[in-house]
């Protein structure tokens, strides 16, 4: 029983991490049709800058963790908005080229991070409470799982509120539904593109700081390894669907944890298998619209 609880909660924590990355990917794809390979780099840079900030302020206080999260979100948002503004916008409506530019950016930035921070993981620390465990139904759960879940839920709620109750949110929702109609109504969708990139980047940035606490280190490869699972999550959830991304994050991460424990470390393979099954039965994903 305690093992099941531990695996479940750890899976939920990892799922929270996947969601923070996948939400931005899914929104960006839904509105613009861009598969953003540079998303992992947003996350990695935010994790590094967040850690540098926390270290400068004294890593073991809650205040510095909060500042690190804010710095991470800001880093991700600025990096992402800059990417959209300087690179993606020039290739308007040329989807393949847009993907290629983000591929180039991810290769170049990961190499740059290698050069600045070195290829080895840097082990980090945080507030004492995060390193401790809590007893839940007989299972000793590391506390950072709870932080991850709480933040992911907050981000989900914030994005949903933004999409539902602001003018930009309305434009974005309409744009995902039918972009040419929104343009035809005389609304400049392109400004919404930058906003979507900034939101996605901020979520990934928060995810980066939290990922460094979940794994206990930061490395230039941090973003890339999470990005692949975030891609899988977005496809399973249905490209462009935020609830789909949330549900698929949890399913994928929990499946991964259970398969890793009970089926001899086959978690990653089971996830790919799940992807194949979903695509065979429902090519547009769980919540995706028919293409």
């Amino acid at each position: 029983m305690s093992t099941v609880v531990l695996l479940l909660v750890t899976g939920l924590g990892l799922g929270a991490l996947y969601f923070l990355v996948a939400s931005g990917l899914s929104l960006i794809y839904g509105l613009m049709g861009v598969l953003n390979f540079a998303h992992g780099s947003f996350l990695t840079l935010a994790a590094f800058l967040g850690w540098e900030t926390a270290r400068a302020l004294g890593a073991d206080s809650w205040g510095s963790l909060l500042v690190a999260l804010l710095v991470g979100a800001l880093t991700g948002a600025v990096f992402a908005a800059g990417t959209e503004f300087l690179l993606i916008r020039r290739l308007y409506n040329r989807h393949i080229e847009q993907v290629l530019v983000t591929v180039g950016l991810s290769l170049a930035t990961v190499a740059l991070f290698d050069g600045i921070w070195g290829t080895d993981p840097i082990f980090i620390s945080g507030p004492q409470w995060l390193a401790e465990t809590t007893n839940l139904l007989g299972a000793r759960i590391p506390n950072n799982r709870f932080l991850l879940m709480a933040v992911a839920v907050l981000v989900l709620v914030a994005i949903v509120l933004f999409l539902r109750f602001t003018r930009y949110g309305l434009i974005i929702r309409a744009g995902v539904e039918n972009r040419s109609m929104v343009t035809a109504l005389g609304i400049d969708v392109r400004r919404a593109f930058t906003v979507v990139f900034a939101i996605g980047g901020a979520a990934a940035g928060i995810g980066g700081v939290l990922a460094s606490h979940y794994f206990g280190y930061v490395s230039p490869q941090l973003g890339g390894s999470l990005l692949i699972f975030a891609f899988i999550v977005t496809v399973i959830g249905g490209l462009g669907s935020l609830p789909g991304a949330a549900l698929a994050s949890v399913i994928v991460a929990v499946l991964q944890q259970f398969a890793n424990f009970y089926l001899g470390g086959t978690g990653d393979l089971m996830v790919v298998l799940l992807l194949a099954v979903v695509l065979l039965l429902r090519p547009s994903g769980l919540f995706g619209r028919k293409a």
Binding site: V99, V101, T109, V272, L279
Partner: protein, 362 residues
């Protein structure tokens, strides 16, 4: 200039190029800054053979991406099947080299058919992600089974089971000639496919899949055939890589490696066979030179702001790639095509015509 584009002239030029490449190990040409030594030395031949392998690999990816318009992020998987397959078959069975290669390629054929059939159920970006996921699964399998694949350490070629003329530093030129032969073979295989009925359907699918359906042609078989041919050719280059490098590491199945192939194809020029060949050579030589540059003393003496970016070859290559995508849509071959058009038509009208550059190449 017109004589250069005449069909017969292309055969002559292509033949001359191959003959020149074949003669390189026999002559003493020193190209400072491009090759590590004179062309007949094993070090230079190793680099040249590697660039030919990357050209052939880029050609195999051209069948998917350039011809059929399938953006696959899992092409490295089939390269790795070729390389790892050969190593494992040679080590675990008593087969000679040629039957072992045959068995490896049959394995690649089966894997490509199965995985292709599943991933081609979706198209566009979803297809890219599914192929990425399959390659990732392959990468996990290789890392998690060290007793078969050598895990993170990589697998080395059991050189005792390879004919003598392909082993040893002095025999590098045999491997170089082998690589050249395979490149020519792959080139003609791709050319043959492009001109076959299935190849024409594949190209039509790239342009407009709906129209192909309306014409009553099923797009799926053509796409699957293109996927399988591209993948098996990638496995062929993987086999060759294993022979040349005498080993392979899990890096060859990583997503980064597929991205490298994509970079090569785009750098050379999407949709062009010669573009893939030129891209492979240019990329490999750049990569080797930039790595040598990164370790040089001139770089180490620079202030950190310049030293860190300049000592990361991938940073420079990635930036170059971004610039090519933004400002040079046809890649290196596209640039050459534009220059030619400017010559032919005169400067006044060139700007107008350069956008609809003729697609056909030798």
């Amino acid at each position: 200039m017109k004589i250069l584009t005449h069909p017969a002239m292309r055969w002559v030029l292509g033949g001359a190029l191959v003959a020149f490449a074949a003669a390189l190990p026999l002559v003493n040409i020193v190209v400072p800054g491009v090759l590590p030594g004179a062309t007949y030395t094993p070090g230079s031949l190793q680099v040249l053979a590697l660039s030919l392998i990357f050209s052939a690999l880029a050609l195999s990816y051209h069948v998917l991406f350039g011809l059929t318009g399938l953006l696959s992020f899992g092409h490295a998987l089939y390269f790795a099947i070729g390389a790892y397959g050969l190593g494992i078959v040679l080590e675990r069975t008593g087969l000679e080299l040629l039957p072992a290669i045959g068995l490896t390629l049959v394995g690649a054929l089966v894997a490509a058919t199965l995985l292709g059939a599943v991933s081609l159920r979706v198209s566009g970006i979803s297809f890219a992600m599914v192929t990425l996921a399959f390659a990732q699964a392959g990468s996990v399998l290789i890392r998690r089974n060290p007793e078969v694949t050598g895990g993170d350490e990589g697998l080395s070629l059991p050189s005792g089971r390879v004919p003598d003329f392909l082993v040893g530093v002095a025999d590098t030129r045999n491997l170089y000639w082998l690589a050249l032969g395979v490149l020519v073979l792959v080139f003609f295989a791709v050319r043959w496919f492009e001109r076959s009925r299935a190849g024409h359907v594949a190209a039509a699918v790239r342009e407009n899949e709906l129209r192909v359906r309306v014409l009553g042609l099923p797009p799926m078989p053509a796409k699957l055939v293109a996927f399988v041919i591209g993948s098996v050719l990638a496995a062929v280059t993987g086999v060759l890589y294993m022979l040349l490098q005498s080993g392979v590491t899990p890096r060859s199945v990583s997503a980064d490696f597929t991205l490298t192939i994509l970079v090569i194809v785009v750098l050379g020029g999407v949709g062009s066979r010669w573009g893939a060949v030129i891209g492979g050579v240019v990329y490999t030589l750049l990569d080797q030179r930039l790595t040598a540059l990164a370790g040089s003393e001139a770089i180490a003496a620079l202030p950190p702001v310049l030293r860190i970016p300049l000592s990361e070859p991938l940073f420079l290559l990635g930036s170059l790639f971004i610039l090519v995508v933004l400002f040079l849509p046809g890649g290196i071959v596209g640039l050459a095509g534009r220059v030619r058009l400017t010559d032919r038509i005169g400067r006044g009208r060139a700007a107008k015509v350069s956008s609809d550059r003729p697609e056909e190449t030798a």
